[in-house]
Symmetry: C3
Subunit: 341 residues, 3 copies
Amino acid sequence: MTKTNPGRFFEDYRLGETITHAVPRTLSGGERALYHALYPARHALHSSDAFAQRCGLPQSPLDDLIVFHTVFGKTVPDISLNAVANLGYAEGRFLRPVYPGTTLRSVSEVIGLKQNSNGKSGVVWVRTTGLDEADTPVLNYVRWVMVRKSDPDAPAPETTIPDLADHVAPNALTLPDGLTFDRYDTALAGEPHRAADYQIGEIIDHVDGVTVEEAEHMMATRLWQNTAKVHFDATNREDGKRLIYGGHVISLARALSFNGLANAQMILAINAGAHANPCFAGDTVRAWSEVLDKADLAPGLTALRLRLVATKGAPGALRGDDGKYLADVLLDLDYWALMPA
Amino acid sequence: MTKTNPGRFFEDYRLGETITHAVPRTLSGGERALYHALYPARHALHSSDAFAQRCGLPQSPLDDLIVFHTVFGKTVPDISLNAVANLGYAEGRFLRPVYPGTTLRSVSEVIGLKQNSNGKSGVVWVRTTGLDEADTPVLNYVRWVMVRKSDPDAPAPETTIPDLADHVAPNALTLPDGLTFDRYDTALAGEPHRAADYQIGEIIDHVDGVTVEEAEHMMATRLWQNTAKVHFDATNREDGKRLIYGGHVISLARALSFNGLANAQMILAINAGAHANPCFAGDTVRAWSEVLDKADLAPGLTALRLRLVATKGAPGALRGDDGKYLADVLLDLDYWALMPA
Amino acid sequence: MTKTNPGRFFEDYRLGETITHAVPRTLSGGERALYHALYPARHALHSSDAFAQRCGLPQSPLDDLIVFHTVFGKTVPDISLNAVANLGYAEGRFLRPVYPGTTLRSVSEVIGLKQNSNGKSGVVWVRTTGLDEADTPVLNYVRWVMVRKSDPDAPAPETTIPDLADHVAPNALTLPDGLTFDRYDTALAGEPHRAADYQIGEIIDHVDGVTVEEAEHMMATRLWQNTAKVHFDATNREDGKRLIYGGHVISLARALSFNGLANAQMILAINAGAHANPCFAGDTVRAWSEVLDKADLAPGLTALRLRLVATKGAPGALRGDDGKYLADVLLDLDYWALMPA
């Protein structure tokens, strides 16, 4: 009997089953320092204990995307080891800040299955929850992937497509206990613009570009204990290229968006996301944002719904005349961020 | 008088002398995070405080190889700066878990000397001990290196070849105080296979490969304050290549071995080891293991004696017809690991 | 209105104004571990809590250059985003050790302005102070940069050139509270040479070389939240090269200087510094030091004034017959370091 994990194939998933993902992980100041070394992250709430304490938190929480990547990474051996494509995200909600010292683990529920018409693969929808060491949920999101079948003759499951929200409703966004921007210092945060200064429809070009190196994306991806071989093994693809973990591009784009969105301190929800084209070492990643919506959550606290687009050329259009993403587009992410009103 | 350290030459060693190695080092969660970024390490005991606490430990200990590399790195300026070759390891014993906050230092005793017949170099055997800030030993191992003579006319020392055990006897293995696998959770550990599921002679191909980058192995080697110039200076060799620290390959192979040996949670001893061929950036490192022996140490706790082989091609044979390591073999390591029975 | 930070131009500075720099940063053991991974740093006081405690400090302080880079990095968006050249440093004083857990921020006062005769740019002098979370200064230094004008027709300010000390006077050097070298252990520090063993005028070749990779200098520079695009964006220069942050070369050279100056434990002051030539990935950085002066500060505590020179070839002369730095010279730094007498 083989001892190694071959990953799950499409026919291995059962609707409603719960998968406990392996290898809980305790996060520390070390992960925070590495996050700052790997991404040009500067949002003050995630950088400074003193700033976070002025905002009513006990200390600086780990970057929301550290939590996302850690929770996501644990699901890879069970969900996406044999995935052909990572198709989408929905209903991602950050439920409470995560501080250094927290141990995270992940569980996923299979909420949808649909065999493809070619009979060789199918789409699996899972709702993944990140839990701390007291089993309190810190993050919850749906993603769906296309997974190969191992046995083409395995019977197709009944098709179940989950009913997913187009975006997280503002009243479903969770604010951290005690959070207040009453004593918010825009000079220390880096920009004067508050939520009221942003217009729905406004486009912000984040200006800066970062050329990506192999060592960086592999260190980042390993840090999240994400083991998908396409990221690490140059012999895996015929062209000798290592595919960069899509989450690396999310973090790069989010960090670049500081320049123009320095006060969008926390990610409250991920509404949707598409990895439009693959990213490889040598690409220079840039980003732009579009303000999609605004919602007042509490006195002084406003959520901005943002489209965050990463490109590998000059920022420009998103889709061609055929409705498809242009070749330069790497990421199209729809999320809610928290800002001082 | 020159102020810099020229390193020791063969004639500088005296049998029985004790060498205090410089630069004690306090380890923190930062080293742990970097270890996870540099290697695909996933053993749960070294990843999660919560998992370690269920196993009776106060928190997650630092990876055994963090301890090994830190202790080893301190010896380089005194033992291997002028080494021609790192010939072997023996009698390596991990004596207690090391937690973040511990300060490690190293001392070595010269236990063997043998001048080579060419009169230009010799073999030095040292027993190195890693000590914490209370001078409690945490690790003990023998290694031997071939070192150049500075003065070919220096007299040869009396030949003394230490009597080294072929492998650490099971009753010499040290279990951490309080360790128990009574509440061990295989789902969180990542695989169902316990010691009883492994057969002596069984071979496990760990499947995954990692292509190594210059930045990664240099960061790792520096992290252990290992200063051997062959690892860092591209002008040092005629071919412009930087030789990868052998310990980097050990860590890569051990981390890759998670896939098939996820429950081999701790390294208890290093019985022997050979760096069969040099590793360079661009190589894709793979690994396979062979179960050499098993030993029950305490109720529920079994040690597996494992051969861990790292290769830079597809895993295959170890030695050619001439008995020499094949060109693709990078590492042949013999160690004891602790598993739930 | 654009939301992004275009940086300041020469005409935007006013003599005497104080600039609060954004994004305070809490440092942890993670930054220390990364510093050790990115640089071959081995000074024992910054490596070991136990060693630091023997020297009368509560624990090992973060490397002085971690403090310098963090404080410096915060100033980049306000001072040097549009800088044509980083011209010099003066009167840099380290005022107290910084320990993990400290939050640093930076403020700068504009102390000098001089428009260039071409009318297109000018020199700005700022005195920057690094403050901890209690607003206690930890570092103070002057630097001056040449900055472009956005509007060539903007009127020239009155020329004010600050009166800067050639070097920090010994009686202006600050010793950490409680520091003593009475129980200093040279074996653990790595070298026997105390201040008395160094002669003014003595030259020390630090022997080792480090070939620099793109991933390393970018990770380091990001770690200090330094956002200057020349370091990250390969499309920014016509030659496709990324300019390495000058501070990266300072840290490399300082770390290399361990070999010959292992007991120069702390940097007390930066007297002057010039980035003589740009450094790029692929360069092999070497270093040499010259003892410029000595000053007894307290019983057992002596400051050495050192010239630290980084080169990308074999160490040699500093300047050509024309008085200009030779092409191989990367850095010429004048600093005070603390040593056991």
